[in-house]
Symmetry: C2
Subunit: 356 residues, 2 copies
């Protein structure tokens, strides 16, 4: 059976050979997205590679002038500087770009959208739509309905972020470091990770058997935040449409392959109990709430699954109108590829992309 349909869209995936790009292609097929034609782009290193999608062999191309002519939808998963250069090219060629880099997220003319949270923002796009950072993304489907019900005032968030957030290079760094230990229990007992050293240049410390309180680089404005922490704060405010939301965020990389977890302490304007919050979350789109305190989801269970999985929801006795919870989501699925495809679906639903 072919994955190509009429009526459908002329679709391009840029960064098609990476971790998120691979996931995008899988999700387009899984969800039977109306693809009429598909073009794949990647860096020159991958030029000429042949990938199979929807029963057809497709040759990977490189970006060049005119490459987006006739394309309706571009799913773009590239570094920010590449996106800054090529997303406007695609938009000028008449395509809608759903971009997963950080290049456009805080641009006032670019909607930053989580499909279940603020789909209406897509109506104002001017050719480019931004997909949030994978950490922010996991959190938003849980916070939006809680904000609507109780009025969100402040967040204290700590993350447990997977290495796949750094692409294949992150997974490879972890695998190489772990392989050095093998199953030498004595070496592990003696030294923890000491003496092993970091594989490659992906992380500023070894990641195997470690927790690194730095995701992405530090910002350059005199504060001691990292860019990842800054993104979590700024993107949450934009997506939730709460420009004054107070957020304390600490982002930590852990030796998890896929699945970003967070502990969340959320303070509200209105009185809230864990029971009332549970009622809201049980009905929230994109949220899967654990039924018992023991049935929490972890990165292990959510790999390859859609949704933000909330658990450990409890009254915070240290502060009024406050609850604590744990949330985890597959950073490659909802955190990246899935939401990109969902945004494209919403664009179709809302008449912003027309099948032909």
């Amino acid at each position: 059976m072919s994955g190509f349909v009429t009526p459908g869209l002329e679709v391009a995936v840029v960064g098609a050979t990476g971790l998120v790009g691979t996931e995008m292609l899988a999700i387009l097929a899984e969800r039977r997205f109306p693809v009429h034609s598909l073009r794949l782009f990647a860096s020159p290193r991958s030029e000429g590679r042949v990938l199979t999608w929807g029963g057809a062999d497709l040759t990977v191309e490189v970006l060049r002038p005119g490459c987006f002519d006739g394309v309706d939808l571009v799913l773009m998963e590239v570094e920010s500087d590449i996106s800054r250069e090529w997303a406007p090219v695609a938009a000028r060629a008449g395509a809608v770009v759903v971009d997963n880099s950080s290049a456009w997220r805080m641009d006032d003319t670019v909607p930053l959208v989580v499909s279940e949270v603020n789909p209406h923002a897509l109506d104002d796009h001017a050719g480019i739509v931004a997909n949030p950072n994978c950490t922010t993304m996991v959190l938003m489907p849980a916070l939006k309905p809680l904000d609507a019900a109780f009025g969100l005032e402040r967040l204290v968030v700590s993350s447990y972020q997977a290495v796949s957030g750094s692409g294949v290079a992150g997974i490879r760094a972890l695998a190489e470091e772990e392989a050095k230990f093998g199953d030498d229990l004595d070496a592990l007992r003696r030294s923890g990770s000491a003496g092993i050293g970091a594989a490659q240049d992906v992380y500023p410390r070894p990641i195997a058997h470690n927790a690194i309180p730095q995701c992405d680089a530090f910002v350059d404005d005199g504060t001691d935040e990292t860019k990842e922490e800054r993104k979590l704060v700024a993107e949450s405010r934009k997506i939730l449409e709460l420009p004054d939301l107070r957020v304390a965020a600490t982002c930590v990389r852990v030796p998890v392959v896929s699945g970003h977890s967070m502990t969340v302490n959320a303070e509200f304007r209105e009185p809230v109990t864990a029971a009332a919050a549970a009622e809201v979350l049980a009905a929230a789109p994109g949220v899967v709430l654990a039924e018992t305190r023991e049935s929490y989801a972890t990165a292990f269970e959510v790999a390859g699954r859609d949704g933000s999985f909330v658990s450990r929801l409890r009254d915070d006795e240290s502060s009024p109108n406050t609850v604590d919870f744990f949330v985890v989501g597959d950073n490659l699925r909802k955190g990246a590829a899935l939401n990109c495809v969902q945004l494209a679906e919403v664009l179709v639903e809302r008449g912003k992309l027309t099948l032909h």
Copy 2:
């Protein structure tokens, strides 16, 4: 050179063959603790094993009536139920017991002490002294001087706890699960940890490539806290002598061999800045403060080292009088064995144990 000296103490280590017991023996030697004689106890499984300490071969014994006769100091590293039975036996025999289980920590007649934080509490002991939980321990040396300077009001703490906190079994579970992956990058890419399954019964979920929001069992009082979270709250209040301290804690197990890390959001009564807090922490005993934002310590660097390593100290813009920081310590050293030996040293210094 013999490690045995006169004048010294008749010392017993109970649980001498475990992870923390092994560390206790190493630390007694490293710090040239005044050991006149040393007796080693463990479970029947280890009876008759011969360990070398201070140039002598020592045979591991099992606990039996009269076994503590003539002993001055017992360092006890056993399960709570064993401690509940045997610590009073040792105390009645005239020994001072430094106990690392949770059996006695919240007993009003038992001092719960971090050597740099509340050594004066040792003066009131009645034969048993309690060593705090390894997570609490790492946090206290940083919080005590901050409380003294600014008046601690509230904490939001999230932990990143190492498997060695569960003893050799925890390390073995992690090693076995990781060995199943080997360096199969494709398997890692495909599935994260999915399909691997948990090794043994140590943790309620696989620990390799995972973050488990449950340390220890859940409490049985209708709240959804774990015992580890409850310990962190109750022990912090007792050690800091702040019975009304407000604490929101979420304890998470991560695939780290040794080194418990925490993110800490600390709110004070008095105005505080990161700069003022840094000045206090730079002078605090038992605290090592990172000099730059990039020079943070991680579990990797602190394995086998003493002290609580503080970094990422910054002003919290989401709340007045609040700072955020990251702290990590070796849970087997300061978190357990080191503080036990330090408490014994303080008992000697304060005349509560007399060399002979």
